[in-house]
């Protein structure tokens, strides 16, 4: 059981690290388009990895396997690029890349 705990802990911490990194990117980076990269990739992977951790955990803690958490990961991976694409499109429409740091448009 210890090995399971270790694996779960690993995935959890790795996921949390990536997710936090995504948010740090959101916090730190200088313009919208660069900020977009963090949440799109790091956060998606991070949270996805935590879902996998959960799947592993419950597969060993409950009767039978528990894989449905993987669906969350799957869903995040399918939708994250669309969200990112849309946000980028919206930002391009607002021409944020032309005059950097445009204040709230509305």
């Amino acid at each position: 059981m210890l090995i399971v705990e270790i694996i779960v802990s690993f995935f959890l911490l790795l996921g949390a690290f990536f997710a936090l990194a995504g948010s740090i990117g959101l916090y730190r980076l200088k313009d919208f388009f660069t900020r977009l990269h963090g949440p799109t990739k790091a956060t998606t992977l991070g949270v996805g990895s935590m879902a996998v951790a959960s799947a592993i955990y419950f597969s060993f803690h409950l009767e039978g396997i528990s894989l449905h958490e993987v669906l969350i990961t799957f869903f995040l991976f399918v939708t994250a690029p669309i969200s990112a694409h849309f946000l980028a499109k919206a930002a391009r429409h607002q021409r944020i890349h032309e005059d950097k740091g445009h204040p709230d448009s509305d």
Binding site: G22, I24, R28, D31, F33, A42, L67, P81, H85, R92
Partner: protein, 167 residues
């Protein structure tokens, strides 16, 4: 590969749904396979009009290799890479920029999958598809060489995708 008919318009989708159902339910009892099959038949029947075209996957093995190999590897690498860039002390050194990828693929689904894949892999977010669908505008987090980036995308992602979906 799997041809649909009036009663089973999307055999592949039906299969996917059954698998998903079992995943959701966390069981593989016969009762749930039965229920999943019922839903797997009923739902595509209802949604057929939304997605009448059956994606033609000519090379399933290539597909598997691509998504479980290249893609998964790139995702992890991309993330490590991005995290490194994000966390580096001097973020002023980044060279973010837009660049245009000319598209060979014409199929909507292929373009969409390509765009998604691009967004999930090294330092790039696809941010616009031109109106004539001939180019994809991509934003890179750190782009020292635009041409290199374009070439990378075209060979590493577009080519296999085109190939696996070409019938």
């Amino acid at each position: 590969m799997l041809q649909g008919n009036r009663w089973l318009p999307h055999p592949l989708m039906t299969l996917t749904l059954i698998v998903l159902w079992l995943l959701l339910m966390n069981t593989i009892s016969f009762g749930h396979i039965f229920l999943g099959a019922m839903l797997g038949i009923a739902i595509p029947w209802f949604t057929n009009k939304f997605w009448p075209e059956r994606p033609c996957i000519s090379k399933p093995m290539l597909m598997a290799r691509f998504f479980l190999g290249t893609f998964l590897y790139d995702v992890v690498v991309a993330n490590v890479n991005v995290v490194r860039l994000i966390l580096q002390p001097d973020i002023g050194k980044l060279r973010p920029d837009f660049f245009e990828v000319p598209l060979d693929a014409q199929d909507e689904l292929v373009i969409s999958i390509l765009a998604s894949v691009i967004s999930l892999t090294p330092g790039t977010v696809s941010s616009e598809i031109s109106a004539d669908r001939s180019t994809l505008i991509v934003h890179g987090l750190d782009v020292p060489d635009k041409e290199e980036a374009v070439r990378n995308i075209k060979t590493r992602y577009e080519a296999p995708l085109k190939e696996m979906f070409s019938c």
